[in-house]
């Protein structure tokens, strides 16, 4: 039985029209594919801002805390004076704090991106066509079987080069 429809587009304005059409017809669950991020699509969909930044913030804070802590704790763990400097000397330790902040912050950012965009998912290719990484834009519409006709119509009249059933 049918899950949804995959439509491939050659032109971006056709894609935008298709998005508009689907929106007008109150289709909720559809995914847009594009070989490269286009602002036109953003404007058409105006999606919420990504949550990645939270991961960055938390990661960064953990990093800077750990950086300072490891430096200060180890200094006091076995106090040895060098060059007549204070044993736990926070000024140079700022460098450690900073570097660890960047490290952990960056890694957690990437981690956040993976979580939010559900990758890695190596095997699942439902609702995807290999042309979408090439030259074609695409839309995958998921809907109840009875509305498939309506969706197909919307996609075709906006100029889809091809509409296929995904099962």
């Amino acid at each position: 039985m049918t899950r949804g429809l995959i439509a491939a587009y050659k032109e971006i304005d056709s894609l935008i029209d298709a998005i508009e059409a689907l929106k007008q017809r109150k289709f909720q669950r559809f995914t847009v594919y594009t070989p490269t991020p286009r602002h036109e699509i953003e404007h058409a969909l105006h999606p919420p801002t990504s949550k990645v930044r939270l991961f960055t913030l938390i990661g960064g804070l953990c990093g800077v805390t750990f950086g300072y802590w490891i430096a200060i704790w180890t200094s006091d763990y076995w106090p040895l004076v060098v060059g007549g400097k204070a044993i736990a000397s926070w000024i140079p330790y700022t460098i450690i704090g900073f570097e660890v902040m960047v490290l952990v912050g960056a890694l957690s950012t990437v981690y956040g991106m993976f979580i939010l965009s559900r990758i890695p998912k190596i095997t699942q290719t439902i609702g995807f066509d290999s042309r979408f990484t090439g030259g074609h834009f695409g839309i995958y519409v998921e809907t109840e079987p009875e509305r498939l006709k309506e969706a197909e119509a919307a996609l075709r009249e906006t100029g889809a080069v091809e509409v296929t059933n995904e099962r």
Binding site: P79, L80, V81, V82, G83, G84, K85, A86, I87
Partner: protein, 1017 residues
Amino acid sequence: MSQPPKTVVKRREFLKVLGTTGAAATAVGCSMERVEQLIPYVVSPDHTVPGVSTDYATVCRECSAACGVIAEVRDGRAIKLEGNVDHPVNHGALCARGQAALQGLYNPDRYRGPMMRKDNRLQPATWDEVLARVRQGIDEARAANAASGVRFLSHHENGSFGAFVDQWMSAGGFGAHLAFDPEADLAARAANQAEYGSAWPALDFTAARLIVSIGADFLDGWGASVAHQLSFADARAKLGDAPRFVFIGARRSLTGLNADEWLACRPGSELAIANALLGAVGGGGNTTIAQAATASGVPEALLQRVADELRSTKPSLVLGGVSTPDAHLVAQAAARINKAAGNVGVTVKPDEGLAGLGGAAGAPALADLATAMNAGTVRVLFLRGTNPVHDLPKAMQFAEGLAKVPLKVSFSSYPDETSELCDVVLPDNHALESWGDSEPVRGTLGLQQPVMDPVFNTRATADVMLAMARADNAMSSRFPWATYRDFIASRYPSGRAAFAQALAKGLGQGTALARAASAAALPTTAQAIAGDGEFFLVVHPSPALGAGAGANKPWLQELPDPVSKIAWQSWIEIHPSTAARLGVQAGDNLTVTTAAGSLTAPAYVYLGIQPDTVAVALGQGHTAYGRYAQGIGVNAVDALGASFDGAGRLAWTQAKARVAKAGDRTRLVTVEGSARQHGRGIARAITAAQFAAGEMGEEEPHAFIGDASHEFLPGLRSPVANDAQGALGDTTSKSKGMYAQDHWSGMANRRWAMTIDLARCTGCSACVTACYAENNIPTVGARWQGRSLRPFHSADGAGWDNAPGANILKGREMAWMRIERYFEGGEDGSADFETRFLPMLCQHCGNAPCESVCPVFATYHAPDGLNVQVYNRCVGTRYCSNACPYKVRYFNWHGYGEVERRQYAFPEPLNLQLNPDVTVRGKGVMEKCSFCVQRIRDAEHRAKAENRDVQPDEFTTACAQACPSRAITFGDAAHEEWAVAKQVEDRRAYHVFEELNTYTAVVYLKKVNHPAAGGTR
């Protein structure tokens, strides 16, 4: 040491086993996995507790002064020599040559046993074989009625040995015995004998107000250097009241560099000057100042001023010690000046004189011997401790004569040029392995006892001779003694029991019956300096190598010459103006040609020499004598003919020479970067006048914005100088751990520190060698230790840079302590320049720049003020050395401590000398002066064991202990009772680069200069 257990482990072998651990003890890695076997003593020798040192008092035989030494013996092997504090000559000090005696003892090239010439090659033999051969030779001589053709040539030794040999020879009806010492200043001895009635009067520099030395290098090899240096330094330590010192000579030796004024005179003109001065003090003399001035090239006014000074200043001390053919006359004139100036008994003390210096044979006697040998009348020749083939000019034809002697018996312990020509070698024990006695000063006996069993299969010559005597019907009756020890003991005035007691201190009362020196009248004439060529050739003994005996000891080879700072090399000293005239750069090879022969060596451009003079040092140019001596430099004697002074000493300064560029170059193996301070105030001085006037003398020249306070005492009173954030200074700070004054360990209550008095320091470098000995510092200059130049090289070393000192050319010397020699003035090449010696070692800064940059805490600041280097933690980033303003950190560029590396610095059995208390550093780690932390810990252990605190000045560092100038003081600057704590408050005290805010623990005391009236330096 996976070496199988011996069925019967002899003590000596056991020592070797131990030795290998010593060498394996590198910081590179722990070797817990290795299965080892410990071979203990079966029956522990007396007083020997494993791991605990025993001290034995004995006598140093490295020069004729016969200083008293204490040998530190650990597990049956001598690991360190220190001066005997009670000894009347050296009072506890010890020179570099004395320190290096250990490397003679453990020299890897010593004969391991008796040798005999078979198919024209010296090959190992048994004692029975060689003794039989010797007996056979003697019998043949007797059979041929030529017993008198049996001769004995020995190194002149202070003590009974000479008498013993004489007795032995006469008992056997053999010919005369000659005792020879190439370094002995026979001229001075003879003149002294004639004028004072004592071969070597005691010289009291402290009593003098003016010292005039006419070529007498009393600090480097002339007579008993250590005794002179002690007295000289004490005199200089009188600061404002110290005597002024004028040096007269063609070349500024180490002694000359310590003079306040140098009269650069033509070689051979010293006699004229001496006579002129003699006249000036009203002692007769047949030369006027004007004549002397023209003869010597010294400006008349200058000479006149010195003469007036000598007349007006009382008491004074005049010394004559030139090496020209008229040396005896110069010495005589000097002695007469002292008489006329009333110095005898004041600064010159004949009755307290050094004894035992008399009785050495002159070179003419050796010439006669050589003639006899060439004539074939010598049947058997015994040689002991002397190396005439190297030390005597070719013209004397000693080697040729030797070839004509049927049986040549050498007692030499080393394969030197002479013993290599002999038929039989009966290797002698080293002085530290044998019995003996000496008479350093009249009435006092210095007792020499073996401090350990022989390293090799050697026997004491005296014992061998006793054995031979007992086996000989003719002689046995006159030699009742079983061993030489009995012989010595039997002669000990107050009997054997007293003798045994005296051994403990190494000193006793009595006389060693040194043969009375012949007080023959001195000839009143002398040869002139002969030869054509526009230059005078001055040949002088090397302060470290002497006439050559020291050349097989890597410590002495590695020790930069105190004057030229060149090591592992021969060089020709030439004046800048002359060099410019001949277009000679430093390092250009020069060929010096005299009638007798020629020398080729790199030029060293030296301010302290006459423009019409070139100088070469003795000691190098060995063709045998072991791996460290062979193939290095030239033998200066090759340029000398058979010309002697009136007392029979070979005249080292005897010829004129032609000097030509050889065309090629040899890089000078020098440790000198720049010989000028560039106004950086590193070695500072103050004139006596300023000092008297209470001025400060030279100050730190730069005071730029951000310059730190010059108040450095706080840095010395507390172990750690306060840091920028003040946490260490803040008494309430909690995070100070063991650095808190009230910490339970109490470590932070001490601040180890050192003062170095530049007024005393003479730059003799004894401290440097003492440091090598104490701290297992590797020598890196040997020919095979050079770095590889090609990626592929064969095992035999082909493809390696085999130039001596290749590592030092790259600045890789490891001396934790170095003596920097800075010149002041004389940029125009004039003789009016001053020299400042500055011992530079780790300054143990309170705010050490090296510490904070180390990523792994391998160097850090200990609570007791030490700047610690932890070898086994070091990863070798060398960042600390970059940060160090004093450049006193040294890196192990090669595996000097790894047996399997060709750079291995302690070839067996040299490794037996390694100090078990100090880690042998491995490849790739940084090292530096530790303030002898092992001695600090040892003192703390002792104190703890005796349940007390470390007493003030209870111990000191190796350098301070050895210093014959007593210039170095070590101790705890945080406690007033320690000497160093008082020293740092001296008005002359300063820190090097104090504006860097390093709060160093090494404080220098400014040198005090005594310029001539109106002079500045």
